[in-house]
Amino acid sequence: AQTVTQSQPEMSVQEAETVTLSCTYDTSENNYYLFWYKQPPSRQMILVIRQEAYKQQNATENRFSVNFQKAAKSFSLKISDSQLGDTAMYFCAFRGGDDKIIFGKGTRLHILP
């Protein structure tokens, strides 16, 4: 069974700093997708970024980028120039051949003014 592990329950950084959120996963599949979802205090689930496992190039979306290491089964999220609005719970997620999403436990990120 696939598992997703986020080892940082909570992090705080100053506004404008760069922060990296860690995620590791376990799967025997070769073809899958990885996602980072953001859940602000309003409780919505917002897709931040996604990565196809067959692509070696790391995905980038404005201030958000990932470091995808397939062999190590690692998928970290980097937020550059962090903003107060980035304060949220961040979930790493895996989607394989059975189509359901497996979420990690989340990392609560606080951006401090």
Partner: protein, 117 residues
């Protein structure tokens, strides 16, 4: 941008009562999902639905749960006899998902907070 909408945003129900949570997926999407998030815990998959039948369900999705697409636009989750431990945030999601595994993201609704008293 099209959105998944869920109603109500907050539902309070007495234990043992039936509750129906409603979702309107994005109109051209074919796959539908329900997830739940108990307060302070991770989001958990409940069920996926395609072509008017359940594709997959988790061990959480027992006989007390059912899903339906009654009219081609709504997608509902029914809990027949609610328990205290059913209190959670319930998220509906939908995706286009043409080929598995799909990079089409699941678009989530804002969730329904279910409180069982």
């Amino acid at each position: 941008e099209p959105e998944v909408t869920q109603t109500p945003s907050h539902q309070v129900t007495q234990m043992g009562q039936e509750v129906i949570l409603r979702c309107v997926p994005i109109s051209n999407h074919l796959y539908f999902y329900w997830y739940r998030q108990i307060l302070g815990q991770k989001v958990e998959f409940l069920v996926s639905f395609y072509n008017n039948e359940i594709s997959e369900k988790s061990e959480i999705f027992d006989d007390q749960f059912s899903v339906e697409r009654p009219d081609g636009s709504n997608f509902t989750l029914k809990i027949r006899s609610t328990k205290l431990e059913d209190s959670a945030m319930y998220f509906c999601a939908s995706s286009e998902a043409l080929v598995l595994p799909s990079n089409q993201p699941q678009h989530f609704g804002d969730g329904t907070r279910l409180s069982i008293l």
